[in-house]
Amino acid sequence: MIKSLVFLLEFLKGLWITAKHFWINIFFNFLKLIGFNIRDRGSVTIQYPEEKKEIARRHRSLHRILTREDGSPRCVACMLCMTVCPSECIYIEAEEDPNPEIQKRPSKFIIDLSRCCFCGFCVEACPEDALRMDTNIVELGEYNREKLIYDLNRLVRISK
């Protein structure tokens, strides 16, 4: 009998915990509603499209290709990113550049985002600092699978 009383108490304790959460959250949510935003209390929910969770500086998000001063991509098509990419989502074709200092430039640079695993190896492999994943764009959903294939132009445009 005492045992079952103890159990009953445990039930009540459980209810007490949830009720506590309930009332505390109600209280602080109400405060938030009328304009007093007390940090770290109340619901932790981030109301997504309006407010966004701060993305870490180091976070690997959508790729972009950086450009030189004249707007041409910094990439010299060394193909290291293509080599190291474990998901084989980067494809590059190279061509000659008349400038002897550059010599080589990508004629095709395709990232198939649908395969990308966001490991960041391509960024680590890039010896020219041409590729970065610091756009903080993570909302990459598309209606079409083809749209997930990013070509050179699109990747360059992101950085602007």
Binding site: K13, A56, H59, L80
Partner: protein, 444 residues
């Protein structure tokens, strides 16, 4: 009379029920064929392999470096432990010693992962037994832990953070604060969950004495990790074959008594507390790194540096891209081994010197890169589910000849048929939850 009843019983048709693979409690990757007598399980057959992604075969076609992301996705709840296990196996082959700070960081990361894993496991178990709120609390705590991971590694889950020869990057500057907050929040949640589950009569009823695995059975089935310890066997790779800095830290291995679902739950709960202890100790004891010693001024954009290095090597510090933060040259000696053959050279060197550039290319090019000596090696770490062992055969090239994973939950899953036999249909769920089946690791 009794015999007659028995006879009639045996004549009775039993109900065949197919559970999974797309069953809410089967995590999408398990199928159990049940032979039921009412709600009692007479017999069962567990079918796995619905998440067999060809990990081992794929790895045979990838370089040692490229295998890293794949290891992330084995036990995807605690990727950093997988990383560590894989990387340390390679290190054992190469005979590299890594810096002390890197070891501590690895330890902290592993323990955070372990907590995440246990949280997720217990959350799922609780959810499947109906305690939805506990699930949400635990995942909430995990979110705080993941914040630490995200700030440090650049990804929330699949981090690819542990590297052959060390780690990818040093902690961010505010790491103490971050970890402190995560630990505090986790403690809070654990307290709540203890209140909601640990002594709750319903939960006790559901888990106590259910799916009991005796010591002998546990060993015979090759259990390791929390499930083995729940059966009362003292075996933990961290204690038996200490790696990283576990021998320098003070922690205990909680043991269960009965080997039932409750013990498996409780051992995990206690282990999380131990892990929190380990994290706190490690943060205290960790040797200071460059982030704590020097204030690094960032001056030059990398591209400018590359441009000017064509003429003359720039002398200013280079500001790395945010993704590469934590890998500045000053930090390198603290987080990576000094054997240059197996690590990516610091980005500053790659950008500005020919030697760095050559090392960089050598690391990344196919058929170059990391090439361990010929031979075979087995190394294991204490994964969240048990002994996570990597068996790698190298043929001297830059790709593993064979890579085999000793998946802890594979062994535990093989005992599932035994564990659910004679129980109720409803018992399958907490039992299944308590063994923490992770598809990626089980099916590989």
């Amino acid at each position: 009379m009794a015999e007659k009843i028995k006879k009639r019983r045996t004549k009775k048709e039993s109900l065949l029920l197919n559970m999974g693979p797309s069953h809410p409690a089967m995590h999408g990757t398990i199928r159990i064929m049940l032979e039921l007598d009412g709600e009692k399980v007479l017999n069962s057959e567990v079918e796995i392999g619905y998440l067999h992604r060809g990990f081992e075969k794929t790895c045979e076609n990838k370089t040692y470096f490229q295998v890293l992301p794949y290891t992330d996705r084995l036990n995807y709840v605690s990727p950093l432990i997988n990383n560590t296990g894989y990387v340390m196996t390679i290190e054992k082959m190469l005979g590299i010693e890594i810096p002390e700070r890197a070891k501590y960081i690895r330890t902290i990361m592993c323990e955070i992962s372990r907590i995440c894993d246990h949280l997720t496991c217990l959350a799922a178990m609780a959810m499947e037994t109906g305690a939805f709120t506990v699930f949400l609390y635990m995942i909430k705590a995990r979110e705080f832990l993941w914040d630490v991971l995200e700030q440090t590694t650049g990804a929330r889950m699949t981090t690819s953070y542990i590297r052959i020869g060390g780690i990818k990057s040093d902690f961010p500057e505010n790491y103490k604060q971050l970890i402190g907050k995560a630990v505090e929040e986790t403690r809070k949640v654990l307290k709540d969950c203890h209140g909601l589950l640990t002594k709750n009569k319903i939960f006790l009823n559901r888990t106590r004495g259910v799916a009991v695995v005796s010591k002998e059975d546990a060993i015979s089935y090759g259990f390791t990790g929390p499930c083995l310890r729940a059966s009362g066997v003292y075996y933990d790779v961290r204690k038996a074959h200490p790696y990283l800095v576990y021998d320098q830290l003070d922690f205990e291995i909680p043991l269960g008594e009965n080997g039932d679902n409750y013990d498996r739950y409780f051992v995990r709960m206690l282990e999380m507390e131990q892990s929190l202890r380990i994290i706190e100790q490690a943060v205290e004891k960790m040797p200071r790194g460059a982030i704590e010693i020097k204030n690094i001024e960032e001056i030059l954009e990398p591209y400018k540096a590359i441009q000017s290095a064509r003429v003359k090597r720039p002398t200013q510090n280079i500001k790395l891209s945010p993704n590469l933060e934590g890998t500045e040259k000053e930090k390198y000696p603290y987080i990576l081994t000094d054997d240059k053959k197996y690590i990516i050279p610091p980005k500053e060197d790659t950008y500005t010197t020919i030697t760095g550039l050559i090392s960089h290319f050598k690391f990344f090019m196919k058929n170059h890169g990391i090439r361990p000596p010929k031979g075979e090696v087995y190394f294991s770490v204490e994964g969240a589910n048990g002994e996570l062992g990597f068996y790698i055969i190298s043929d001297g090239t830059d790709k593993p000849y064979r890579l085999h994973l000793r998946a802890p939950c594979f062994h535990i899953m093989s005992a599932l048929e035994m564990m659910i036999k004679g129980g109720y249909v409803a018992d399958i769920i907490p039992t299944f939850g308590s063994i923490n089946m992770i598809g990626g690791e089980l099916d590989r």
